[in-house]
Each structure stands twice: as structure tokens, then as C-alpha cells.
Amino acid sequence: MLKVNNVTKRFGGLVAVSSVDLEVNEKEIVSLIGPNGAGKTTLFAMVAGFLKADEGKVDFENASVLGMRPHQICKLGMVRTFQITQPFAGLTTLENIMVGAYSNTSETDLARTKAEEVAEVVGMTSLLNQGADGLTVAGRKRLELARALATDPKLLLLDEVMAGLNPTEIDDIVTVIKGIRDRGVTIFLIEHVMKAVMNLSDRTYVLNDGKLIASGTPSSVAEDPQVIEAYLGHGAAEAMAEGA
């Protein structure tokens, strides 16, 4: 469904993403892990049309999306969320989700119905009329998810939707994500919370210093010495231990 081929991105002298190849198949939940600064968000930004790749190819459903603008890619069915949440702060939760829903309809009533449905799926029904700027971190993360889901994507790119959440909130959102997959949406997610990665993913890619250093099932990846080193090097050994 998504094929990333030999993609590279440089920021000045820094090679943020270096010749990365990866693939996401339909109905899968694939995760992308790696230490901070590994280039995960940059990779998502290229895939979703927010950044231009310096080299390489990005194909979605066998057609190149390189050079397309984000709204066009969204229309094709691939939508991203933001690690640093980007709510429409002046609007309510409902209005935020409706913006996503409007991508498939121009009817206000239909958009509202769709938004309410999606809010139900992500568990935000009671927050619908609350201002988005008043939401907690967990609320904002859910809102990112909800808005993206409201566009009826085929592939969801989730960038650290669990960062900053407490264990209960994480369990909740893991359930939500599984639910979304069961509705037929393919999911590609960046995550730091290893327990969730283990629990959710069919396959995992590990990025370090812009390069893919491992891929496979979550448990095989967790035992990969290169991966452990990458994490140890960045002082995240505990995270791995918790996950494995």
C-alpha cells in the first residue's frame, strides 16, 4: 500500500533520513521506532507531502505521491497526525473533527454526523462542545486522531499519539487504535511507548541516525543487538527492558 524507496532528506549538513526503504501493507499495523532525533517525524513529513525528499520515491497504492501537496495526499486516503499537536485552538472539539469530515462532504449536517460518529470511536463524545484549547494532553492526542480519522483515510500515519499519556490513557488509546484497524484502516505509527509497540504492531522498523537498522516482528526487533545498542547509547535501556 505504501512503498518508501531509498528516501533521503538532508537539512544542511545533517542527513536526517538516509536511504530508507520500507513498506506498509494493507490492514497492517506497522510501527516505526527509534531514539529522539532519529528522523521518524521527518520521514512522515515526506510521506505526507509536508517536506520534499531530496532523493528516493514514495508510492501510495502504486502511484507516486512525490511532489504532491498534503491536501492532495489526504484526498488519496493517506493522512498524518502531528507529534506536536496542532489543534484548531479556537474551535470546539466537534468543529475540529468536522474540518476533517468536510474532506468528504460539503454538507454541514453530514459532516456533523460523521464527526459525532468519529468522536464516539475515539471516546470524545463527552468533550464535543469543549474548546480544543481546554483539552488535556490526552484529549489533544485523541483529537489529532479523531480529525484524521474523520477524513476516512485508508492509511493513518500516527506520530507519537501516546507521548505524555499515563498508563491508563495509553491502554485506552491502544484499544481505540485496534478498533480503527478492525474497521479496515491501515496504520503506520511512530511510537516510543514500547509496551504499546509490542502490543499493537504486526511489524516494526527501527530508525537510528536517519538509517534503518532493523525490521521485523516487534519481539525479534527488541532482541536485535544493534537496536539495543542504539537505545542504550541514548540512555533508553529501561524503555526496552519494559517492552521486552
Partner: protein, 331 residues
Amino acid sequence: MTNFRNHLYFLLLGALALIVLPYFISSRFYIDVLTLIFFTAYLGQSWNILGGYAGQFSFGGVMFFGTGAYVSSILLTTFGFPPIFGIFLAILGGAFLGLIVGYMSFRSGLKGSYFALITLAFAELLRVLANSVEFTGGGVGLFLTYAPGLSNLQFESPVGFYYFALILMFISIAIVYWLESSRFGAQLVAIRENEDAAEALGINTLKCKIYAIMIMGAMGGAAGTFYAQKYLYLDPPIAYSIHLSVEMLLVTIVGGMGTIFGPLVGAFVLHTVNEIARHFIDTPGLSLIVYGLILIIIIGYLPNGLIGAFKKKEKKSDSTSLDKKTSRGDS
């Protein structure tokens, strides 16, 4: 929105009151002041669509007004083309100018103060251009003949212009009322609140912003025809005056950006304050100072304008757009 619908009855009454008002006012002065209030509210509303809803502040809004004024006036003086049709070409001219300015600035990603300045530059450029070419009458200006009649959009009585301005204002309110409940309006607001997120969610932000500035341009164009037919004289400093650019953003900011009635409320309050200050203060220049002080107070203490302040009282938890813009912190 629902709130607004509930008040529809009340609003229709208000509209009716404005329609019958001239029958109760014999003073030409008050009719003229009200006409000017509607006219400024209308221009403010055009600024509001791009600035208040789409969040793209322009500082050269007068360019559409001036261009519209020249389009219908030149058509009239050169070809005898009746302004009642000329106004539609003025609207087209304004929209087309909006397309050009919007395409050039939004496509190259201009935002915030850069966009504001580029609109100012366009307005100035047009002023200089209008001064140096012949078909605008150059610095001498264009004189229109006084020939009252509907086809000329000229009226013997000031009440005629009162209704002309009132109709323009009603139309502008209808446009914004439609925006409030339409997808396009929601998309503009999404762009205002967070352009990246808007784009990620499938909104063609470039196209939406260009449409918004074209609507602003179209509205400004009609205002130009109105002005030319009312005052019968046009020259570059009038057509492209910075003062008018400022006034349309001022009435909107004072009244409340991104609200249906902000521009009207702002225009009413500012014109009233201005008239009162002029009436009671004889020392030259002092009335301007008082006017300025009141402006500072309103803008300084009511960041969401008068309507925002009123809404806050009504519903304490409800915060409004400018607050959010400054407090758009992230997790």
C-alpha cells in the same frame, strides 16, 4: 450559530428598523452618517472575510475599492457605460485583482506581516500607476456628471444612497452568514487557526485563501462604484488611500474579527465616537486624539473586540479567537 438562529427574529426586526428609519429621520446629516456607517461596515466585512475568518491580515484593502471605482467610472466617462451594469464589471475587476494578488502572495507562501505589507505595496503601486497613466485622468482625476437615475446609481435624495449602502451591507452580512454555516467558512477558519493542520486534513489552503481574497476583492469593487457615483469625483489619493485600508480593518478589529456583526458594530461605534468628539471638542486636532485614545482603550482592553467582550460576559468559559492565537501553546 444556533444562538444566531434563535436571534433571527430579532435580527429581522433590526433590519426592518433600518429599512424604515429614513421615514423617521428628516436630518440629512444623520442619513449621511448612517450611510457612511453602512459603507464602512460593508468594507469592513470584506476585510473580515479574509482577515477575520481566513486569518490573512491585509493592509491594502483599498486597492479593490479603488480599482472597482476606476473600472465603472472609466467605463462611464469613456463609453457611457451605465454604472448599474458597470458595478458588475467593477466586481469582476476587484475579484480579478484579488486573484492576481492572492496567487502571487499566497503561492509564494507569504503570511502574517509579510502578506499585510505586500497588500500595502500593491495598493501603493496602483496609486502611483493611476497617477501616471492617462485613462484614469491621472493626478487631475475623473469627474463624473451628476445625472440622478437608477441606471447611473445616483440619487437625488441622500436617502437613495442610504438604501444603496444598506443593501450592500445586507448582502455582506448574508455572505458572512452563509460562511458561518458552510464548509468553505469552516475551511477558512481552519486555515486561520492552523494552516498546517488544515492542509493535512485535505484542505487546499492555497485555493481557499485565493477564493477568500477574491470575495474581498469583488466586494471592494462594488464599494468603489458606490463611492464614485455618490461623490462624483475620483483621483489616485482617494481611490487608493491608506486611510480607507486602515478604516476597514479598524472597524472590524474594534467590533470583533471573525464575527458576523463585528464590522457593523465597529463602524457604528467608531463613527459615533468620531462625530461626538468632533461635535464637542473645538480645539483642532484634539478630537482626533480623543478618537485615538478610545481606539487604544478598545483594542488594548478588548482583544476580541466589542462583540468578543459581550460574548465573554454571556458565556464565561467561552474564549475567542485572538486569545487563542496568542495562547496556541503545545503539549
